[in-house]
Each structure stands twice: as structure tokens, then as C-alpha cells.
Symmetry: C2
Subunit: 328 residues, 2 copies
């Protein structure tokens, strides 16, 4: 019989196929939702695999611990989590692993949980050829639901911060870019390494959005995080909400020393692991939020039309041809 290998299917198609085994309301977001009486639980699983998502040459066990929490908690925050309950850890490690590595990993996990909220609830540890940290984070749904499929035409597209830093940090750590590169300032290098090793999240995002809400009847807004890159976040919102994103290239917020050029645009839009929020709001709500929180930036708007992402004022016409971030 003809074998259909995973590598030929690709990540997006795989996710689509796996979704057919799940209840229909679970398919559009990373987070799962469980309604219990008047509370909804948010449940998210993200795994980091050695030599795919990390390796010992570029990142310490402490920072891996931080990042596995960040990637899970970011999915909760981008769903509108009001409280992080905790995480369960499924750890797989080779038997030759040094105890210190595991101790540092757990210390990093607790450092991040102390920062973002939540506790280690439990988990298990198994032997295997390569290290895998599979984490499941659980939180409580807040007053409004943030979902990928809830953007609407005419809404303003916003983001909580700048992109590309984590990717640049990885390139420096893996010696594909050298910190002696004349296009890099010390400030940019430091910010990039920091964002790569200890990404910040926006745990107060929901509170700020609620505070800026002009109309309490709106209970759901379109939102995702940029863990797979800004472009992929925009594409996911457009696809799941079935509308057309128009982004003004000149409005996207960059690090003050971010260099110009195709390579730097690629890092910016496709880098991933920056964990900023990308979302849309009606004009008045957006204005309130922009006034209250100067770290939020307006970058475009949605229109009725085919699910797609278009750019205005972008000279680099080749940048967005046939692109989508993929872990595979």
C-alpha cells in the first residue's frame, strides 16, 4: 500500500486531519475549552523537542524551562485567560541526562510560573532517546473570549509589541549571525538575546482590553499570539475569521535599531517565538486601548473579502510570496 508520509502532508494539513477526531468547537484555536457549570477552563498543550525546538548549544535548561511555560501560557493569554491555574509536565529524557539539567529545567519552569502565575501541578518522567518536554497548561476563561475566528470586517488590527527579536537572538546564539555584525547595535543584540532566552508575555492584556471596552455587550474578540511569527498570526486570524487583513508596512513597530533589508523583513515577519498578541477591535475600543497603553500599535484593518493578508506601502514585493511559518 502507498505510504503517505507525514513530511509530505505538511503541518497545516496534519492539523486539519487531526481536528476531525475532536469536537467541532475545538478546531480553530490552539487552546481547548471545557465548560464546567458557569466556568470555562482553557487547556493548552505545547511540546518542545530536542534538536527541533532547542538544543544544548544555543539555550540553557533554565531558559528552556522558561520558554516551555511561555509558549503554553501565551496560548492561554491569547484566549482571554483571567487566571493561570498551573501546568502538568510530561518529560522524556535520555538515561545519560545529568540531573543538573533536569533540576535547571524545573527551576526555569518555576521561575516562569512565579512570574506569569500558576504552579506545577504534576506530571511524569520517562526515558527516551531525545529530550521532549510536553507541557499542558490550565487556566480560567476571563470575561471575554479571545478567539482566532472572531475578527470582523472594519475592525482595526493591533499588536502588543515588536517582532523578529527572538529569531535574531536564535541566529546569534546558533552563530549564523555574529554579534560583531556591523548592522547590529548593542541594544538590539541584548534585546534579541533576552527575547530569545526569556521571552516576556502580556499577562495583563485581558485586563487592559476590558478596561478599554466601550460596550459591555461585546463578549468575544479576534486574537492570537505571534508564536509562529507575525505573518502567520495575521493569516490565521484572516483564515479563521474569513476576512481580508490589510497591513500598513510603515506602521509595524520595529526595534529602534532594526536594520533595513529583505533578510531583516524575513526575520521580522516569519521569525516566530515573540509571543506578542495580534488582535482586532472596533475603532472606538481600539482608540481607547491605544490611548491607555502606548506599547500597543495599530498596524492595519480587516475588510470583507477572501481570507488573505495584504500589505500597503511595502516596497519588498517578494517578501510575502508563498510564505507561511511551519515547524515541520
Amino acid at each position: 500500500m502507498h505510504k503517505e508520509l507525514l513530511e509530505d502532508i505538511g503541518e497545516k494539513e496534519l492539523i486539519k486531519r487531526l481536528a476531525e477526531f475532536m469536537p467541532k468547537n475545538q478546531v480553530s484555536d490552539d487552546c481547548a475549552f471545557v465548560k464546567k457549570k458557569n466556568k470555562t477552563l482553557l487547556i493548552n498543550t505545547d511540546s518542545l523537542v530536542e534538536n527541533i525546538h532547542f538544543n544544548d548549544d544555543t539555550i540553557s535548561a533554565l531558559d528552556i524551562g522558561w520558554k516551555v511555560v511561555a509558549s503554553n501560557v501565551s496560548d492561554l493569554i491569547s484566549s482571554g485567560c483571567s487566571k493561570i491555574i498551573g501546568v502538568n509536565i510530561g518529560l522524556v529524557v535520555p538515561s545519560k541526562t545529568d540531573w543538573i539539567w533536569i533540576k535547571d529545567l524545573y527551576t526555569g519552569i518555576n521561575l516562569a510560573l512565579n512570574h506569569f502565575g500558576g504552579l506545577i501541578l504534576g506530571g511524569d518522567c520517562s526515558m527516551g532517546q531525545e529530550k521532549v518536554i510536553s507541557m499542558t497548561a490550565i487556566g480560567l476563561q476571563g470575561k471575554i473570549k479571545l478567539r482566532r475566528n472572531s475578527c470582523k470586517p472594519k475592525e482595526i488590527i493591533l499588536t502588543t509589541g515588536i517582532h523578529g527579536l527572538s529569531k535574531l537572538g536564535l541566529m546569534i546564539k546558533s552563530k549564523k549571525i555574529f554579534d560583531t555584525d556591523i548592522s547590529l547595535t548593542k541594544s538590539l543584540i541584548n534585546s534579541s538575546l533576552q527575547q530569545f532566552s526569556r521571552p516576556k508575555l502580556k499577562p495583563n492584556f485581558l485586563k487592559k482590553v476590558l478596561k478599554a471596552r466601550p460596550n459591555k455587550s461585546i463578549k468575544m474578540i479576534g486574537c492570537t499570539d505571534s508564536s509562529d511569527g507575525l505573518f502567520q498570526a495575521l493569516l490565521d486570524l484572516a483564515t479563521e475569521s474569513n476576512c481580508k487583513a490589510i497591513i500598513d508596512y510603515t506602521k509595524i513597530p520595529k526595534h529602534k535599531n532594526w536594520p533595513k533589508g529583505h533578510k531583516w523583513d524575513e526575520y521580522y515577519f516569519f521569525g516566530g517565538e515573540d509571543y506578542e498578541l495580534v488582535f482586532s477591535l472596533p475603532r472606538k475600543w481600539a482608540n481607547n486601548l491605544l490611548f491607555e497603553d502606548k506599547t500597543v500599535t495599530e498596524i492595519g484593518y480587516f475588510l470583507e473579502g477572501d481570507a488573505s493578508v495584504s500589505f500597503e506601502n511595502c516596497d519588498n514585493k517578494n517578501l510575502f510570496k508563498n510564505k507561511s511559518f511551519s515547524h515541520f
Copy 2:
């Protein structure tokens, strides 16, 4: 600096060390407990790793799917779960994996969930060198808590069924024992293969225990499952409850065709993956349950004394020397 390798530390010591990163109330059971208003959630993570817990020569993807659910749900049941909410799946697979394998795995997971209760809530899929299925199951705590640390001296020790079958099934599947072995009957072979591939659980255990309860003031009983073997289950109860288990070897329930001899005793007591419940009750409660449910068997009792497991009426004196089940 001296490296302290995981293989030198051992599983039990590792679990003890990892427990220090968790809240103190989480350390004694496999399940984690989260209290939300008047509800308690049970959360359990168990991972199956290729070539450690399974390989393609001995078990199909469909059966792996069933077993990963069984091993997770069994931990929920043995904590007193009244309702299984669902599972999140962290899947790691090589890029050369055939789609059919994944499809069968998910089909097996859904088969088991249809049988035991619960839904696939969500999860993620990553590439890796070897297959890992890390599952987190979530359920609701029922009216009484079943915990490893809640056995008391003078209580009767009981088990829900017979042991050793799953191990024998594995030995046959991996061609270490042949089904032409004259000591094996057809009935024993079939039961063993069935228990290895599609282990049954006791989803109605809590209901039966509640029905037999003579005194509603008791809210907590000592219980665990035999996923790591009957002996390990008894040792865990004795250790966590700090009392002495006395087991009558002649009372333990065996398959009617289970052969005699040291090897067969080893499979019986140390085999693992049978997912029977091992628990203790006050005499009257035990009697009620034994009367109501003929599949439950009394096998011994607890005494005050050092945490330990002793056997009465057992001729095989070498069987329990320096033994404990370990995945490592």
C-alpha cells in the same frame, strides 16, 4: 564537575526530587488535584515512548491509542474520578511516519474514550526522532477521595481483579514466550493478549464503593492502581500510608489456568499494566463490597508498623527480595 546521571539516580529518587518543585499536597499520587470553588479537578499526565513502552513489532497504533488512554484514565479512576472530562495529546513523531499510523492512533484514542468517557480536547503535534505520546487527562473528583496515603491499620486490602495477564501478553507478542508453550491454555493466551492490547478498566469502581459504604462520614480511602504491578501498588500504599501490608499469598486471585512456579509469580506480582485497583477498606465496608461485587477479592490487611509488604503462606521465599517495578 561530577555528573550525576539519571540512570544512576533511579526512578523513585527522581520522582522524589521532582516533587520538591511542586506544592506539597501533590506529591503522593500520580494525579494532580486542583480545587476550584466546590469542585476538584483531577489532572494526570502519562507518556508512552517508542522502544521504552511500545514498539511497532508488538502492538498496533490502534492499541497504543487505547492503552495511552487506559493508563491515564486508570490514574483518574484510582483517585476517585466521577467523570472523565477529556484528554489533551502532545504527540511527537518522526517525519517519516505514515499518516495511517497517526490516524489509527487517534482512532484508538477515541475508541477508548467512547468506552471510558471523555473527549479529545486538543493537543499539538511535533516532529522528533522517536514517537512519544504524552497525554494529559482531566476529570472531576467524586464524593470520596481515593489516595495512596489514606490506608489505615486494621483495614482489609482488596483488589478488583487478577494480575500478570498483560505481562504474559507482552511476552507472547515479543516472542519471549511462545503460544505453543505447553503450560499455556488457549483461554489464558487469549485473555493475556486481550489484556495487553486492550486493557479493561473499572470505570464504575467509585459507584460500587460508594454503594457499599456503611458510614457516610468517611470521605477518603487508600487506593492506587496496579499499572506498575501488584507488588509496587502494595508497596506504594504501605509507604505513603506508613503502615504494614500483610498479604495472604493463597488468597490472591489468579487466572484459572495460571501456571505455578517462580517465573509465573514474577509475572504476576511485577508485570504491570493490568490497571486493576488495589485498595483498603474497614471490615464492614469491605464485606458489603465483597458481597455486592464478586470480581473484588480480599487479599490481606494492614497493620501498624514499618511501611512494608509481607506475605503469608508463600513458599517462594526469594520472590520479593529487593524487588520494585521500575520503568527505568
